[in-house]
Subunit: 175 residues, 2 copies
């Protein structure tokens, strides 16, 4: 990975997360990265290839984040860690940009990457089962739907206080 290739990836992540994929021109990415436009197409097959490279890099982040939850044996700790995912996703600028891009792409490409969430959903279902819930699979889905709602609000509503909401939900779930 050369220095300029890295600059292209970082500039593209930031711009795609801010303005969307289709609305960001390759010339804009090149300008922001401080390279010639042609270089983008030397390193990536096309504009979509650039997006794929960003997503692929980010999926490593997701594996680390989710892994910590999936292998947690204590059911209450599973709930706690899931709720705290929200804070972890935005701990630094590049992470926040990546997760924002993930949500943005869902709407731009109309594709919900449900398979990515499957292990998390299973871990939550398992946790709710252990905690004696009547409909653990629905309870798990409610929690995940809630997380989607929290992400929507956090990324789009300037004054939304994510911390307060997560704390409140923790007390609701008793964790």
């Amino acid at each position: 990975m050369t220095e300029k290739k890295e600059k292209i990836l970082i500039a593209a992540l930031e711009l795609f997360a801010q303005e969307g994929f289709k609305s960001t021109s390759t010339s804009k990415v090149a300008k922001k990265a401080g390279v010639s436009e042609g270089l983008i197409f030397r390193h990536f097959e096309n504009k979509e290839g650039l997006l794929e490279a960003i997503i692929k890099e980010g999926e490593e982040r997701a594996k680390i984040l989710f892994g910590d939850i999936v292998f947690e044996p204590e059911p209450k700790a599973v709930l706690k860690k899931t709720l705290e995912l929200g804070s972890k996703m935005i701990e630094n600028k590049e992470d926040a940009d990546f997760w924002k891009l993930q949500y943005k792409m869902k709407w731009e490409l109309e594709f919900y990457g449900e398979h990515k969430m499957e292990p998390l959903e299973l871990a939550l279902t398992n946790a709710f089962t252990k905690l004696g819930h009547d409909r653990p699979e629905l309870e798990a889905r409610v929690l995940l739907v809630n997380m989607d709602g929290l992400a929507t609000r956090y990324f789009l509503q300037k004054d939304f206080d994510l911390g307060v909401m997560i704390d409140y939900m923790k007390t609701k779930y008793g964790v």
Copy 2:
């Protein structure tokens, strides 16, 4: 409102909801509506003016939907009707397109129309107060965040069963 102007609005709503605002060209709208591209700019100042006209028309829908909840005196009925909003939003194709467009625009333009939700949030806070909740304003926000999550899933996840989720949440809230 001439017949062709109406056709432009309907075609644009469908295309904007499907492919997004920026990614839909005016020539595509004209083709779908069966009119010349120039006519779009005779009836609307520019492409954004066309979008504004669609949003404005749709806001009447929102007022009707929300009004029924805001003026409901019985607190449990407020919760019930709020949860049932989800089903009402997608009762017919044009309504579903409009609400999908609303969510899509939030992400495309990065602007959460929080003021639109204010009366609903107040009504919910009031309902949770009457029902004796400790933190009614947070409880109201949790419910609205959940609705955002449900919308995200319904519009983006093909196999998402909205009815089951709404029914389950109704039992959770005891309504």
